[in-house]
C-alpha cells in the first residue's frame, strides 16, 4: 500500500514536470507565453523560367524571426521525395521542374531539422500568373473608339494558357474611381462616347487563371498606360465631308432654280408635249415679212438673187395657155417657162423655196405681195448671184425666184407684174408643152380654201 502510494505520487510528479506548463521558461530558449505564429502562405508560378516552375512561401506575420527557419516540400514531386527551399530576404522559394502537378504536396517549416509546422496544399490551386505587359491604346477616329491591347507571357505556355484579364481605367484626376472590365482575350474596345472628351486616362491590366484545373491568385498589375481623349467634335465635321455637302447643296439649289426658270419653255414641252396648233404651226412656217420688206419688180433688184429654174411640173397646156395670155409675143416659145408647180434649181444650188404652181394661175389669188407674204418664206439673197443672172433672159433658163404674191391681188395685177419680168422670166426650152397650170387652178383653190379656213376657224 505504501509502495503503491509512493509510486502514484512519483507518477504525478513526473507528469507535472514533463508536461511543461505554458509560460514555463528555464533558460530563455523558449519564447514567452504564446507560440509564434508560423503560419505561411505560398503561391506558385508555372513555367516562369522556361520549363522551370517557381514556388514562393512567406510568413504571414512579418515579425517572425526567420533566422534559423527553413522550408521543405515533400510529396507531389518527380524522382525525389523532398526538396528544400532557398531563402531571399523574408521569402522562401524553390525553382524546379520536378513538380508533379497532380495531387497535394506537404510544405513544412523546420527549425533545426525539426518540423515546426506543416501545411498541405495543391500547387496547381495556388497559381499566380505573371503580370501582363506592353499595354497599348490606339485611337480609331473612323470608328470613334479606343482599342486597348496588351501582351502576356502565358500565351506561349503549355499549362496555364487560359487566363481572365481585368482591365481598369480611370480619369487621372479621379484617384479612386476605377472602371473595371473583365475579358478573356488580349484586346478591348472602349467607345469614345463613354469617355470624357479632352481628358487624360490611366489604364492597367492584371490576370488570374481561368481554367477548371489551375486556380490561384491575381497577378501583379501591369505597368500603367496613359491616353488622352480628343476634344468634343459634335459640331465639327470632316473637311472633305463639309465641302461635299456644300457643293451638293448648291448643285441641288441650282438645279431647282433652273428647273423653275426653264420649266415652261424647255422642260414642259419635252415632258408634256402639247398638241400642235395648226394655225401657229403655219404661222411659224410662213413668217410675216418685215415691215420694210423691199418688194420690187425691178429685175435689177434681183440680180443678186438665186434664181431657180422651174421645170415642168404642171400640165403643159396650162402653161402654154398661161404664157400666151400673159406674156408678150417677143417671148420665145422655146423659152417657155413653167411657173408654179415645181420650181427646180438650175445649175447653181438653190436653198430657198420659190413660187409654186399653186401660187400662180389665172384665178389664183396672188396673196403674196409686197409686205404681205404669209404662206411661204421669201428669202432674198442679194449676195448670191447666180452665174447666169445677168445674161440675157433668153440664154439659159432663168427662174423667177420665189416671190409670192399676196392675197387680194387680182388677175389684173398679174399683167403688171409680168411685163417687168420679161427680162427675167424665161422659159425653159427643155420643157415644152407641159401643162404647167393644168391643175394650178384647182390646187390653188384648194390651198386657198384650206388656208382661208384656218383664218375662219380662228
Amino acid at each position: 500500500m505504501t509502495i503503491l502510494g509512493t509510486a502514484l505520487g512519483m507518477v504525478f510528479y513526473l507528469l507535472q514536470v514533463v508536461s511543461g506548463e505554458s509560460g514555463y521558461a528555464q533558460n530563455g530558449d523558449f519564447e514567452d507565453a504564446e507560440l509564434d505564429d508560423y503560419s505561411f502562405s505560398c503561391y506558385s508560378q508555372l513555367e516562369v523560367d522556361g520549363p522551370q516552375h517557381l514556388l514562393s512561401c512567406a510568413f504571414e506575420d512579418p515579425d517572425v524571426n526567420s533566422t534559423n527557419l527553413e522550408f521543405e516540400i515533400c510529396e507531389g514531386l518527380l524522382e525525389v521525395k523532398c526538396l528544400n527551399f532557398s531563402k531571399l530576404q523574408e521569402t522562401y522559394f524553390i525553382k524546379t521542374k520536378k513538380f508533379l502537378l497532380i495531387g497535394d504536396s506537404t510544405i513544412c517549416v523546420k527549425l533545426g531539422g525539426k518540423h515546426i509546422t506543416c501545411q498541405k496544399l495543391n500547387i496547381v490551386k495556388r497559381v499566380k500568373p505573371e503580370a501582363p505587359f506592353d499595354v497599348k491604346v490606339i485611337y480609331r477616329e473612323e470608328a470613334n473608339e479606343f482599342v486597348v491591347t496588351f501582351n502576356t507571357s502565358h500565351l506561349q505556355k503549355k499549362y496555364v494558357k487560359d487566363l481572365l484579364h481585368e482591365v481598369v481605367y480611370r480619369l487621372e484626376k479621379n484617384e479612386n474611381d476605377w472602371m473595371h472590365v473583365n475579358i478573356s482575350s488580349t484586346k478591348l474596345t472602349l467607345l469614345q462616347r463613354k469617355l470624357q472628351p479632352n481628358a487624360m486616362y490611366e489604364i492597367k491590366v492584371r490576370s488570374i487563371p481561368n481554367t477548371n484545373y489551375f486556380e490561384g491568385f491575381w497577378s501583379e498589375w501591369s505597368p500603367s498606360s496613359h491616353f488622352r481623349t480628343p476634344e468634343n467634335n459634335s459640331g465639327k465635321m470632316d473637311p472633305v465631308l463639309l465641302i461635299i455637302s456644300i457643293v451638293s447643296f448648291f448643285s441641288v439649289a441650282l438645279m431647282v432654280i433652273l428647273a423653275c426658270v426653264l420649266w415652261k419653255k424647255r422642260i414642259k414641252p419635252i415632258v408634256w408635249p402639247s398638241l400642235p396648233d395648226h394655225k401657229k404651226t403655219l404661222e411659224q412656217l410662213c413668217k410675216k415679212p418685215k415691215k420694210n420688206l423691199n418688194v420690187s419688180f425691178n429685175p435689177e433688184s434681183f440680180l443678186d438673187c438665186q434664181i431657180h429654174k422651174v421645170d415642168g411640173i404642171q400640165a403643159r397646156d396650162e402653161a402654154e395657155a398661161f404664157l400666151q395670155d400673159t406674156f408678150p409675143p417677143q417671148l420665145d416659145d422655146s423659152e417657155k417657162q413653167r411657173l408654179g408647180g415645181g420650181v427646180q434649181g438650175l445649175n447653181w444650188p438653190s436653198q430657198h423655196a420659190v413660187i409654186t404652181p399653186k401660187t400662180f394661175g389665172g384665178e389664183s389669188p396672188l396673196r403674196c405681195l409686197s409686205g404681205s407674204v404669209t404662206v411661204c418664206d421669201v428669202p432674198v439673197i442679194p449676195s448670191s448671184r447666180p452665174p447666169d443672172c445677168r445674161e440675157g433672159g433668153k440664154n439659159g433658163p432663168h427662174v423667177y425666184q420665189g416671190l409670192l404674191l399676196g392675197a387680194g391681188t387680182t388677175n389684173s395685177t398679174l399683167p403688171h407684174l409680168f411685163p417687168f419680168q420679161s427680162g427675167i422670166l424665161t422659159l425653159n426650152p427643155a420643157v415644152q408643152g407641159q401643162p404647167l397650170f393644168t391643175s394650178l387652178g384647182s390646187s390653188q383653190e384648194e390651198a386657198y380654201v384650206t388656208m382661208s379656213s384656218f383664218y375662219q376657224n380662228q
Partner: protein, 176 residues
C-alpha cells in the same frame, strides 16, 4: 490421418489468403472528369511523342506486352497500371532530363490517379532486356543502337495506347 487434416485446415486457407491480393488488383480511378489528364498528363505524353524520333514503320510492330495487356472493358485501370509501371523502365535510357521528367510525370501521375492497392507495388520493375553478350565494340554499339530504337518504338506505341485508354475512360465516364 489427424496430421493430414491439420495440413488441409491450417495450410491451404492461409495460402489462399496470401495469394488472393496478388491475383486481384483494386484500382480506384480518380480524375475521371479528365482534368488531370487533359491539363497535365496529355501535355507530357505529347511532349514525349514529339521527342521520340523513329521510323514510321515502327508502329506496325506488336510487342508481346500488348498481346498480353490491352485496354479492354472493365480492365482499363489494370492496363494503365501495367503501362505506367512499364514506363519506369525507360528512365534508365537517360535520353535527356526533360524526357525523363515527362516520362516520370506520366508514369507517376497515372499511378497516383489510379490509386491502385496491388501487392506488386513495391516490386522492382523488370528490366527492359538483358544485354547481349558482346563480341566486339562495333557490334555492341550497333546492337545497343538497335535496342534503343526498339525500346523507343515500344514506348511510342505504349504512349499511344495510354492515350487511347484514357480517352476511353473519360468517354465512358461521360456516358454514365
Amino acid at each position: 490421418m489427424f496430421h493430414v487434416s491439420f495440413r488441409y485446415i491450417f495450410g491451404i486457407p492461409p495460402l489462399i489468403l496470401v495469394l488472393l491480393p496478388v491475383a486481384s488488383s483494386d484500382c480506384d480511378i480518380e480524375g475521371k472528369d479528365g482534368k488531370e489528364y487533359q491539363n497535365v498528363l496529355m501535355i507530357s505524353i505529347d511532349e514525349l511523342d514529339s521527342m521520340i524520333e523513329i521510323d514510321s514503320n515502327c508502329l506496325n510492330n506488336e510487342s508481346n506486352f500488348f498481346k498480353k495487356h490491352s485496354c479492354d472493358d472493365n480492365k482499363e485501370p489494370l492496363f494503365l497500371n501495367r503501362a505506367a509501371r512499364k514506363m519506369r523502365q525507360f528512365l534508365k535510357m537517360n535520353i535527356s532530363e526533360d524526357f525523363n521528367l515527362h516520362l516520370a510525370r506520366v508514369s507517376q501521375g497515372t499511378l497516383k490517379l489510379l490509386n491502385c492497392t496491388t501487392k506488386g507495388k513495391g516490386r522492382k520493375p523488370p528490366s527492359l532486356g538483358e544485354a547481349q553478350p558482346t563480341k566486339n565494340l562495333e557490334e555492341n554499339k550497333s546492337l545497343k543502337e538497335q535496342k534503343k530504337q526498339n525500346d523507343l518504338c515500344f514506348l511510342k506505341i505504349l504512349l499511344q495506347k495510354i492515350k487511347t485508354c484514357w480517352n476511353k475512360i473519360l468517354r465512358d465516364a461521360k456516358e454514365h
